[in-house]
Symmetry: C2
Subunit: 334 residues, 2 copies
DNA sequence: TTGTATGCGTTATCAT
DNA sequence: ATGATAACGCATACAA
């Protein structure tokens, strides 16, 4: 049978079948009070005409759009791309669409997107806070506009907003990593970060410092490099590598570990092999270095999946009063 | 004034103001036949109550959702992330939302997503074909379901579908790049690809071969390495580097150039500096190597922007019969 | 077992 | 200048 790209509606099916619209609707939804015969007829025609229920009609009627709004700071950051992948996968599985917005790390954009997505477009929000929002600690645009049981924060959180949350235990993972390096005989462990302005950046550094302190290793401030992500970053890293001695580096963000690893090989070819570099990354990215970078895998996809799961559960759950949970995804060193 | 996260509607505004719903609607839409005074009153209250028009209601009434459906093969590929960034930016500017789906390079997923997005959810589609679709050359799920004036294909195209298209002139850019290398005295130019199964992969290789042929350089098949993207890829590249001599490499995909550059430094530290490596990449990725990788910038963001622009123009344009265009984005060597 | 009527929020047409 | 009404597609309470 020929199929057309013309939208068929319940109305059209009802006309063609000579039954009422509600009968068609009920038949397609498998209502008890429709005869098997009618159901069969309806479903067959629906299939033949490639009938797809109109989302807007259903959304209006049900006051549920079956769509999740996602706001991330930066799609070009592989971490968020991976989270998004996890979100999309889970939502898709549960029959939800995802409306993706990018805040560009600006509070104004974040607020604008929230306003846009509100009012019928989405049933709930998955948000990773813009860095500007985290720095200024002004969350009114979120608190005022999103009911806390329609919101899940992930990765870039704040304890000022009470809702479901998903993140990595950032402090703990750098603590354990640093401790491990010490145990393996590393004496001069450096720490490089381009995200010290973010909460997760602070936590990662704290974990590192805590481990040093516990091991009674004096904190050599020269081995702590804090940078902005920009064009001169590379020269700064280069200078830093050339003017300091260390036998291990922990890089706190998604890319600088890769840069350090590659630079070492070029700048200190002899020593390079003896210096352990650990970055926050993922399998794909770590493959870009030689030798392959050791990395802390934040399980970004899992973060996305769990965040989506929490939100959909809360949206669909009749018991809206369940206490908010904070899921801490285990990070793994690879 | 206190603002609540309760959805206000035209109905609510009309009740509070003591005017009819249609007056409120018209006032907000700046209709000519509403007095300035009324407009002012309405708009003030709308602002105070943080009124947002319900997208679903408007979509149903207007038969336009002001939403664009985007289907990409892989969000983890930085190229598509960048395209998406361009799409989102432009759509957002024009007041369109983007509904993002991932086909995972599977035709079945692609078809499923199309079906889902059809019927009211989106006004048009931006699609980059799944590799499976390109390989099998079966486009019925697209042709049958999407009117050609509601579709723009980008990057991974086919001439079997007639619609607006945006891509890089892939053959030409590798042709020019290769020619340039030859002009600069390179004698043994290698070509590495992990995407030979894709149309763009074929075109890139053709450009390379064409330039060699024109320069009457015999085509040394050992210098053409074709791989699958997988775990053993790294060993294959390593072997290839060790067992071949070349003074330049063109890498046809988004990551292998970076890998080659880094491997060279480790495996052939002396010769490495004299070997020119050129990849398909972008500014962010190229910063991950040392020395910084030369790369062909596909202007992914611009591809996204142009694709969105073409689609929105065609959707909004009354003249639907304008001939389809194929925009070829200039790639630049950096 | 099937059909009728209503309303979700919006806008356009046609009164008043 | 303002208001009443209808319709978009759907699901449901209620009639028949």
């Amino acid at each position: 049978m020929l199929v057309l790209n013309i939208m068929s509606s319940l109305k059209e099916l009802s006309k063609l079948l000579g039954v009422s619209i509600s009968t068609v609707s009920k038949a397609l939804n498998n209502a008890d009070d429709i005869s098997a015969h009618t159901k069969k007829r309806v479903k067959e025609l629906a299939l033949a005409l490639n009938y797809q229920p109109n989302k807007m009609g259903a959304a209006l009627r049900n006051k549920k759009s079956k769509t999740i709004g996602v706001i991330i700071p930066d799609i070009l950051n592989p971490f968020f791309a991976e989270v998004l992948f996890g979100i999309e996968k889970y939502c898709s599985l549960k029959g939800y669409d995802t409306l993706v917005c990018i805040s560009n790390d600006l509070t104004s954009k974040e607020a604008e997107k929230i306003k846009l997505l509100k009012s019928g477009s989405v049933d709930g929000f998955l948000i990773s806070l813009a860095s500007q929002t985290q720095i200024n600690q002004d969350y009114t645009h979120i608190i005022k506009n999103i009911p806390s049981n329609e919101l899940v924060l992930f990765d870039r959180l704040t304890h000022h907003i009470s809702c479901d949350k998903v993140s990595v235990d950032d402090e703990n993972i750098t603590y354990k990593t640093t401790k491990n390096l010490i145990k393996n005989g590393r004496k001069s462990i450096a720490f490089l970060s381009t995200i010290e302005h973010l909460e997760i950046g602070k936590e990662r550094k704290q974990g590192y410092q805590k481990a040093l302190k516990e091991a009674k290793i004096s904190n050599n401030k020269n081995l702590e490099l804090s940078l902005e992500t920009n064009a001169v970053m590379h020269n700064q890293i280069k200078e830093w590598i050339l003017s300091n001695e260390f036998d291990a580096v922990i890089a706190a963000d998604n890319t600088s570990g890769i840069i350090v690893q590659n630079f070492l090989l070029a700048l200190k070819p002899i020593k390079a092999k003896k210096i352990k570099v650990i970055g926050f990354s993922n399998a794909n990215q770590s493959l870009l270095t030689f030798p392959q970078l050791s990395y802390i895998d934040q399980n970004a996809e899992l973060i996305g999946q769990k965040a989506a799961e929490l939100l959909i559960n809360r949206i669909q759950n009749t018991n809206k009063n369940k206490a908010f949970t904070h899921i801490k995804i285990p990070a793994s060193i690879i």
